[in-house]
């Protein structure tokens, strides 16, 4: 069924543009195209936007823009995303040490999916993924689309502490824990790259819309 885009208020100082309601790379690309279009338009009163799988949240200053004003501006922008040429995404390569102490679920993933460990590693690392969105913790990327052969449920009991840099999978997605935190995804490896450094000039390794390629580093 065709989903009709909606623009709805999220409270009195943010507005949600819903392009669709599923996780799909093509839909997500339109979200990023819209985000870029709004950023480049430098609309006075727009504070920042937050892309997600199929939506874009626009935070705005109530003392500068009314709901009606921002809604009309965004409606107009929506009509232009088809014409807007998406930027070529930036590619980030991520070296991974699969398995071992920091990838304790690699073998259970293999056996659950009816594969050898080497196949899980090959299938996970051969594809390029898109960073659909970021959230959960600073710098954490939600990436997809994971090959159907590797679909796993989340853990029944999340771990209380997952080290930063741990690579994980759940459902059709893969992610990398950006800071030490609790975690409910299946842990298959680790990268020495730093995803988040608040004191750096470039605090984040990833940005929404990036393409990611895992590279076996063992």
């Amino acid at each position: 069924m065709h989903f009709k885009p909606r623009i709805v208020a999220l409270g009195d100082s943010s507005i949600l543009i819903q392009l669709d309601e599923e996780i799909d790379p093509a839909i997500n690309q339109r979200v990023h195209a819209l985000a870029n279009l709004i950023a480049n338009s430098a609309i006075n009163g727009v504070i920042e936007t937050v892309p997600a799988y199929a939506t874009l949240l626009v935070h705005y200053d109530v003392l500068i823009l009314s709901f009606t004003q921002i809604k009309n501006i965004l409606r107009e922008k929506l009509t232009h995303i088809q014409e807007n040429e998406s930027r070529k995404p930036r590619l980030v390569e991520v070296p991974v040490r699969y398995g071992g102490e920091l990838g304790p679920d690699l073998e259970s993933v293999a056996s659950h999916c009816g594969l050898r460990v080497e196949d899980v590693i090959r299938i996970h690392s051969e594809k390029k993924y898109t960073v659909y969105m970021m959230g959960f913790t600073p710098g954490y990327p939600y990436m997809g689309k994971l090959d159907d052969k590797l679909i796993m449920p989340r853990l029944e009991t999340p771990r209380t502490r997952v080290p930063a840099g741990t690579i994980a999978i759940a459902g059709s997605q893969t992610g990398i824990y950006s800071i030490e935190s609790p975690g409910g995804w299946n842990l298959i490896g680790w990268t020495p790259l730093k995803l988040f450094d608040p004191n750096s000039d470039s605090p984040f390794l990833f940005a929404p819309g990036d393409e990611v390629k895992f590279v076996v580093d063992q």
Binding site: L10, G11, V50, M133, G135, T137, P138, G139, P203
Partner: protein, 315 residues
């Protein structure tokens, strides 16, 4: 060197107006729980709107002035004494070097804001000196304050004579209450809930659970039922958004809440009323949610913030 922490039983953090511009990278805004009291505190001591203050909750704090300064304390639920005298909140005071400033927690309210003329100095992390406790960055070394911490303030904007003995009249403040009616913009996932639950949400009383914190206020009351799906694909969030997980108990996102979330949102508390909710006491306050329109909510917010201009000389 301006103030030293000499006693502390509460949760005290340095907060400025919030960490803006990094939400799409997953960085929460943090900042004050009661944004009105925060802004009033800065205005009372002649600071820019973005200056850092001390937010204190859940207990007491005593500080010693290491130099002469002008301070104020705003918020709800605290008594203030400076040197040997007791003072009301929402006024500015001249403090001499060596004097102690004591904030003691009373039965009502939750959060108080101590501002010093010149603002507290802390390194800018991602453009802000608000403390994000979960991430261990921002504010005072990324943590809550401890006894022995010494806080430095910047240069006051005006002469102390022009900044001390000012007050924000009660008529210009939010109507804090133990039984507030909190306005809400409904949705965006109103359709995820049964009609009966929507009516329940708008009519029943809710209290704040003691498991609440700076990330979110867990509300306790009549459970809200989902029609069908209990989760949605994650989307952006804002302070005041009310998520309802499978348990049916609503959770209101507060200052340190994550930037995205995957539970249906029945509504969002309006900006003007967030201070009312922030100052509710777990287990004691009774809150009722009321539906309003965005236009009305925005007018209410502009009127409230306009009230900050009503600072007068104290009697």
């Amino acid at each position: 060197m301006s103030l030293e922490v000499v006693e502390l039983s509460g949760l005290a953090t340095i907060q400025d107006s919030g960490r803006i511009g990094w939400r799409k990278f997953g960085v929460p805004v943090s900042g004050p729980m009661d944004t009105f009291a925060f802004h009033a505190a800065n205005k009372l001591v002649g600071n820019d709107a973005n200056c850092a203050v001390i937010e204190i909750g859940l207990g007491d704090i005593t500080l010693r002035a290491l130099r002469d300064c002008v301070i104020t304390v705003t918020g709800v639920g605290y008594g203030v004494s400076i040197y040997v005298w007791d003072f009301p909140l929402w006024s500015s005071y001249y403090v001499r070097a060596g004097w102690t400033i004591r904030l003691n927690k009373l039965d009502s309210g939750m959060w108080a804001y101590l501002a010093i003329s010149g603002g507290f100095q802390a390194p800018l992390i991602l453009g802000s000196c608000s403390t994000y406790l979960r991430g261990h960055f921002g504010g005072f070394d990324g943590r809550q304050l401890q006894v022995g911490d010494v806080l430095r303030a910047g240069t006051p904007s005006r002469h102390p004579n022009e900044l001390a003995a000012r007050t924000l009249p009660e008529s210009a403040r939010p109507v804090y209450s133990n039984n507030p009616i909190v306005d809400v913009i409904m949705g965006p996932q109103e359709k995820y809930f049964t009609d009966e639950s929507i009516a329940t949400f708008k009519s029943q009383e809710y209290s704040v659970s003691t498991t609440s914190d700076r990330m979110g206020y867990r509300m306790e009351g009549a459970a809200l039922k989902h029609r069908n799906k209990v989760e949605l694909i994650s989307e952006g969030m804002t302070m005041g958004a009310i998520q309802v997980p499978a348990s049916g108990q609503p959770i209101v996102m507060m200052a340190d809440s994550p930037t995205t979330g995957g539970y249906p949102k029945i509504g969002t508390v309006v900006s003007a009323d967030l201070p009312l909710l922030a100052q509710c006491v777990p287990g004691r306050s009774k809150i009722r949610f009321r539906e309003t329109t965005v236009a009305k909510a925005q007018r209410k917010y502009r009127a409230l913030m306009g009230g900050l201009e009503k600072i007068v000389e104290s009697d």
